[in-house]
Amino acid sequence: MRVKTKRILFVYSMLVFLFFYIPMIVLMIFSFNDSKLGTVWTGFTFDWYFKLIHDEQIINALKNSIIVTMITTLIASILGTLAALAIHRYKFFGKQVVNFLFYIPVVIPDIVVGVALLAIYGWLHVTLGVPTVIPGHVVITTSYVMLVVVARLYGFDSSLEEAAKDLGANSWQTFWKVTFPLIFPGVLAGALMAFTISLDEFVIAFFNTGPGSGTLPVLIYSMVRKGVSPEINALSTIMIFFIVIMVLVVGKRMTQTKK
C-alpha cells in the first residue's frame, strides 16, 4: 500500500474512532454530574459511585447479565461453529432447509422471539427466571456466529487439511491442529459478537425474565419513566474500565504466547 493511501486511511479511521468515543466521554463525564436528570451539567460529585456500590438492585441485575451473557456466548459459539463446519463442508439432503432455519433469527425482529417464547413458557407453566432468558439469546446469537465462521471458512484453503490427512493425521487431529487454528479468528469474532449482542440485548430479556432475574438493560429501561439514574453512567464507566484492563491483560498474554 502506498504511504499516502495509508495516511488517508489512518486519518479516516481516527475520525471513526472519534465518532465511537465522543458519546462515551460524555457518558463518563455525566457520571460525575451533580444533577439527577443527566442532560445538563450542574456540578461535580462522586456520589453516584458510592450510591452504586450500595444499590443491590443494580448489582443484582449486573450479576444476572453476566451469567446470561457468559452462558449464551459459550453455547452459541459451540453450536454456531459446529453448524458452520457442516454447512460449509458438506452437501447433504435438506441443506436449503438448514440454511433457511439459520436465517430466520437474522430476519426476525427480536421482539417476536421474546413474545413467542413468553407464549410458550406461559403455555408450559415454566416459571420465568435467569435460565429462561438464555434460550432466546442463544437463538439470536448462534446464527451470527455461524455467519462469521462461514465467512472465514469461505476463504479457507482446504488443501491444508488434505495435506494433513495425507501426512497421516486422523480427522480429530486434523480438526484441532489445522482447521481450528485457521478458523479460530472467525470463532473469536463470532463469540465476541454473541457476547456483545447478549450483553446489550433488551427485548428478549424484557419479556422472559421473572422476579429478581432482570438483566441490566431491563432494569435501565424500567427506570426510564422516572429518569435514568447517573448511577448507570457510573456503572458503565466502571464496566468500560474493567473491560479495558481485561483486554490489556489478555492482549499481553496473547502476544507473549505468539512469541
Binding site: 444533577s35 408450559l124 429501561y221 422516572k226 429518569g227
Partner: protein
C-alpha cells in the same frame, strides 16, 4: 466427535429442563399466619423504595425479591402470561377496577393492616375499590395528578389546557405519550366527560391534537429533563415529573388546569396467585406505617396519601410545591373503559401521530 456433540445436546436439554423443573414443585401454602421466607414485590421502576425494603428485610427476616415495570400493561402481561407468583403488585386505580372485575385479586384481610387508618380519608374508599360489602382489595401507595408543568421564565402562568395551543410556544410543548392520557386531555379541553369517549368526540379530540402538532416538541411521559434544560417550556404531564424537575430547576412550576385534569393512585394489591398472602399483608402494613411511608417520600416526589407520614416529613419535602398541588373539584379519576373504547382511542392516537 459424535459423542462430544451428543454431550452438548444433552447439556443443552438439561438447562431447558432445569428451567421447567422448578415450576411444579411449589405447592400452595395454606396461608397460615406465619411469615414466609421470601416475598415477591413487583413495582413501578424509580419509586426509590429500596431503602424501606431493606428495613423490612431486617425487621422481619423475610427476603424481598424486587422487580420493576414501566407500565400497567407490562405488569398485567407479566402477571397473566408469565406464571410468576408475585405477592404484591402496584396497579393504578382503573387497573385495580379491571383486576377486581376479572377476579385477579385476593381480598385483603384488613385486620392484618391496622395502619390503613393512616391513609387520608378521601383515599380510603375510592370509587375503583369502595370496600362495600366489606371487601377491600387495594391500599393506596402513592398518588399524583396530571396537569400542566411550565417554566415560569418562558411562559405566563397557564390556567387551562387551552394554553398548550398558544402559537407562541411553537416547538416547546410536550404532551403525554399515551393514547388514553393525551386524548383525555383533549376531551377535557373540549368540555367532554373524560371517561365517555365515543366516535364523535374522539374525532374532535383528534382534530384538536392535530392542530396542536406544530407546537409539539415531543410526545413524552417523562419530560423532566427537557423542562430542566429549557428545551420544553410547557408540558401536559404528571405532578411528580414536575416535582423532580423543580428540584433541579426551581423555575419549573405545576398547575392543575381549570378543565379539571386527572388524579391517579398507585395501589398495593395481592394477586390471587400469591402463595403467601399473610406475609404480603404484613409488608403492606409495614409500608403504611407513618415512619416508613415518610422515609419513602424522601426518595420519591409523588404525593403521599399517608396523613400520619406527612407530619413526619421534612420541610424540604413538603415545600416542593409540585408534590402537593391544589386539586380542583373537577379533577377526575380514569375509569376502566370497554375494550372497544380503548381500541378506538388507540386507533385515534395512531392517526394523530401519523400526521
Amino acid at each position: 466427535m459424535k459423542k462430544f456433540i451428543w454431550l452438548i445436546t444433552f447439556g443443552v436439554l438439561l438447562i431447558g429442563l432445569s428451567a421447567c423443573g422448578s415450576a411444579d414443585d411449589a405447592t400452595a401454602d395454606s396461608g397460615d399466619e406465619e411469615l414466609a421466607d421470601e416475598l415477591y414485590f413487583f413495582n413501578w421502576g424509580g419509586y426509590g423504595d429500596e431503602a424501606i425494603i431493606k428495613d423490612f428485610e431486617e425487621k422481619y427476616g423475610v427476603k424481598v425479591i424486587y422487580d420493576t415495570f414501566s407500565s400497567n400493561q407490562e405488569m398485567l402481561t407479566k402477571l397473566n402470561k408469565a406464571n410468576v407468583p408475585y405477592d404484591i403488585v402496584v396497579p393504578t386505580d382503573y387497573i385495580v377496577e379491571r383486576m377486581i372485575k376479572q377476579g385477579l385479586l385476593a381480598e385483603l384481610d384488613m385486620d392484618n393492616i391496622p395502619n390503613f387508618k393512616n391513609i387520608e380519608e378521601k383515599f380510603q374508599k375510592p370509587e375503583y375499590d369502595p370496600g362495600t360489602d366489606g371487601k377491600k382489595y387495594s391500599v393506596p401507595y402513592m398518588y399524583g395528578t396530571e396537569g400542566i408543568a411550565y417554566n415560569e421564565t418562558k411562559v405566563e402562568k397557564p390556567t387551562s389546557y387551552e394554553d398548550l395551543w398558544n402559537p407562541k410556544y411553537k416547538g416547546h410543548v410536550t404532551i403525554q405519550n399515551d393514547s388514553r392520557e393525551s386524548l383525555t386531555m383533549a376531551l377535557q379541553k373540549l368540555g367532554y366527560d373524560a371517561n365517555k369517549p365515543n366516535e364523535k368526540n374522539l374525532k374532535e379530540a383528534k382534530q384538536a391534537l392535530i392542530d396542536l402538532n406544530p407546537n409539539i416538541l415531543k410526545y413524552s411521559s417523562e419530560p423532566d429533563a427537557d423542562l430542566v434544560n429549557g428545551t420544553a417550556w410547557i408540558s401536559h404531564t404528571y405532578n411528580d415529573s414536575a416535582a423532580r424537575a423543580y428540584k433541579e430547576n426551581p423555575n419549573i412550576k405545576f398547575v392543575m388546569p381549570e378543565e379539571g385534569g386527572t388524579i391517579w393512585v398507585d395501589n398495593l394489591v395481592i394477586p390471587k396467585t400469591s402463595k403467601q398472602k399473610y406475609t404480603a399483608e404484613v409488608f403492606i402494613n409495614f409500608v403504611l406505617s407513618a415512619k416508613v411511608s415518610a422515609k419513602l417520600s424522601e426518595n420519591t416526589p409523588s404525593s403521599n396519601p399517608n396523613e400520619a407520614a406527612k407530619e413526619l416529613m421534612s420541610g424540604e419535602l413538603k415545600n416542593n410545591p409540585n408534590s402537593y398541588p391544589s386539586i380542583p373539584e373537577s379533577a377526575v379519576y380514569y375509569k376502566d373503559l370497554k375494550p372497544e373504547q380503548l381500541q378506538m382511542m388507540n386507533r385515534t392516537w395512531q392517526e394523530v401521530r401519523a400526521k
